[in-house]
């Protein structure tokens, strides 16, 4: 039997398509179906938009959405801002690039959960920072504002996702033809202008990639706010978990999930568009 070119493509894609279909598309479809029903005891009730109305009408959910986005936005900003100089150093100044990249990613060889617990130990009431500061007589009593708040969530997430920012930014910086920088210098630009007019715009794909790579999953992060966020650091994923596990209101949990996904998608799209526009404006 002859298989056409597109046919071959589908054959090659088949395993992936199968997994994606069963593990991603089907559950997502199921989630959509759930979100359009109401809960009738333990069974599903009839078709309705009530869940979405409940989500959108509730001030509590709205502030939770905003907080999730604010926290992961901040995480994205902090991570990218800290990762950029590191990636820049490795791409432009480091002698043993590969060794540096390995060194930078070593912390990510341990489990995510372990790293979150590590931060718990560092930030805790009788944790590393507090006991060190007490010993040095910098403070009289332990600070309680380090842990169980949005600050702790931002610090923990920013550290957890650092590698996902460094690597794409590094790749985009590494790709920049060094003669372009020489040409910019030749045409009258000092180091700072050269960076702003050539290096930054050309590394923008890496920055956008890193930002999306961090913003999208951290908005829905559940583990970190659960472990270090306290009540003020709760994010939308924690509430979704409660709806599915404790309360047992799957339709409401499904609606919250889908609204959250839609919001992340819209914000990511707006971000990419505005970043591109900003790069165009910088000539």
């Amino acid at each position: 039997m002859a298989i056409g070119n597109s046919g071959k493509g589908y054959v090659l894609l088949a395993p992936t398509l199968l997994v994606m279909g069963l593990a991603l598309a089907a559950p997502l479809l199921l989630l959509a179906v759930y979100s359009l029903h109401d809960q009738n005891g333990l069974a599903l009730g009839g078709w309705t938009l009530a869940q979405y109305r409940a989500v959108l009408a509730s001030a509590g959910y709205r502030s939770l959405f905003l907080r999730s986005i604010a926290i992961s936005g901040l995480v994205t900003l902090v991570t990218v801002a800290l990762a950029y100089p590191m990636a820049y150093f490795v791409a432009f100044h480091a002698r043993r690039k590969f060794a540096w990249l390995i060194a930078l990613t070593i912390p990510f060889w341990t489990s995510y959960l372990l790293r979150v617990f590590a931060w718990k130990i560092i930030l805790g009431f009788d944790g590393v920072i507090n006991s060190a500061a007490l010993r040095l007589h910098l403070i009289d009593q332990p600070l309680s504002l380090l842990l169980y708040n949005p600050f702790a969530v931002v610090v923990t997430l920013a550290h957890a996702w650092a590698a996902f920012a460094i690597l794409p930014i590094y790749v985009s910086l590494e790709k920049i033809d060094r003669s372009l920088l020489e040409a910019a210098g030749d045409l009258g630009d000092g180091a700072l202008r050269r960076f702003l007019r050539i290096t930054l715009p050309l590394s923008l794909p890496g920055v956008i990639g890193a930002a999306i790579l961090i913003f999208v999953p951290t908005t829905g992060d559940y583990v970190t706010p659960e472990l270090v966020g306290g009540t003020k650091g709760t994010m939308i994923a924690n509430v979704i978990e409660v709806q599915f596990n404790s309360v047992g209101n799957w339709p409401l949990g499904a609606a919250l999930s889908l609204v959250s996904m839609a919001m992340v998608a819209v914000i990511a799209a707006l971000f990419v568009a505005s970043a591109r526009a900003a790069a165009k404006a910088a000539r």
């Binding site: 003669s179 020489e182 040409a183 030749d186 045409l187 000092g190 202008r193 050309l202 000539r283």
Partner: protein, 348 residues
């Protein structure tokens, strides 16, 4: 003092001298070429003049100002890079206007200057085209326009035509020369292509192994090379061993196979004395076929149109003699070597 003055400039990388105590003077408005094989240090010299490398020793002065430690963005030079280094995120207009933006020009003035330059390099109407959609020749023009629009005192060109195919290269050579005449800026071109250097430049410096071997106008370089390396690098050349017998109004040499010959005094490179062992050099087109002369056997003949190129084996010599002319395609011929065209070079 010359417009560009390079004196005793040296540069080594990792202990190896790449540029070795080079002296060079270029006059204002000249089209000057640095010619040499790859690895001879010509690009490093150009990059030191542009400010991308710092000399280990010596001074570089442009228009009377010492430039050694001045960074590229403060030098009155601009460069056309070998790979053109077109900014990929900018369109043609913005590439050309790049170096104008920080000069605080009025908006209409900036536009006028960039548009005028687009016209000079014949890219009118392509200002909005993205950098990625340009052909090789167009990229070369953009790189040239981008450098010229800043009206540098000195334009540096690093193998600017190397990436183009032969036809385009020849067309661009003519155009480059015309643009240089029009803008009147001093051009310093680096190339390994002798034809390009000879056809474009007012003067050429031939470099070899980090040193400048000879600086001369193209015709002089071709007709009176001062050493074997220059003679070898430019065009095709036959060499014969000889010994100087007497130096007077003319020079008598014993040229072995060619017999005793008398050459004009001007054909002898400076510094050669009586009894010195020398090389006699002659171009293939100056070797003649005749009835009598040195007998030889045609080893190969290549038809080139109006004339042919021959390799002639002569007795007592391993290398065949290169001859350009018109003769039968095989058999025995007789070669004559007119003394006026024989040049005496040091045997080094």
């Amino acid at each position: 003092m010359s417009f560009l003055s390079v004196s005793r400039v040296s540069k080594s990388f990792g202990g190896a001298a790449v540029v070795d105590a080079v002296d060079l003077s270029i006059e204002r408005g000249e089209f000057f070429a640095l010619l040499g094989p790859s690895g001879c240090g010509k690009t490093t010299l150009l990059r030191m003049i542009g400010g991308f490398e710092t000399p280990d020793n010596g001074t570089i002065a442009i228009d009377g100002e010492v430039m050694n430690t001045v960074p590229p963005h403060r030098r009155p030079t601009n460069m056309v890079f070998q790979n053109y280094a077109i900014f990929p995120h900018l369109n043609v207009f913005d590439n050309i206007a790049y170096g104008l933006r920080r000069l605080r020009l009025r908006k209409d003035e900036l536009r006028a200057r960039a548009e005028a330059m687009l016209a000079t390099v014949r890219l009118e109407g392509l200002g909005e085209r993205a950098a990625g959609q340009l052909s090789g020749g167009q990229r070369q023009r953009v790189a040239l326009a981008r450098a010229l629009v800043r009206e540098p005192k000195l334009l540096l060109l690093d193998e600017p035509l190397g990436a183009l195919d032969k036809r385009l290269r020849e067309a661009m050579q003519v155009e480059l020369r015309a643009i240089q005449r029009k803008v009147g800026i001093t051009f310093l071109l680096v190339t390994h292509d002798q034809e390009e250097a000879l056809s474009l430049s007012d003067r050429v410096a031939v470099m070899g192994a980090g040193r400048i071997l000879q600086v001369a106008a193209p015709r002089e370089l071709y007709e009176r090379p001062n050493c074997r390396a220059v003679a070898d690098f430019i065009g095709d050349m036959n060499f014969f061993h000889a010994t100087v017998r007497q130096i007077g109004d003319s020079v008598t040499v014993n040229a072995g196979l060619l017999g005793i010959l008398a050459l004009p005094r001007a054909n002898l490179a400076p510094g050669i004395r009586t009894d010195d062992h020398i090389l006699l050099a002659i171009r293939p087109e100056h070797v003649g076929f005749s009835e009598a002369g040195v007998a030889g056997e045609i080893a190969s003949a290549t038809f080139l149109g109006e004339r042919s190129h021959y390799h002639v084996k002569i007795a007592g010599r391993s290398d065949p003699v290169s001859v350009s002319g018109i003769a039968p395609t095989h058999g025995t011929v007789h070669l004559v070597f007119p003394p006026d065209h024989l040049i005496g070079l040091p045997n080094a």
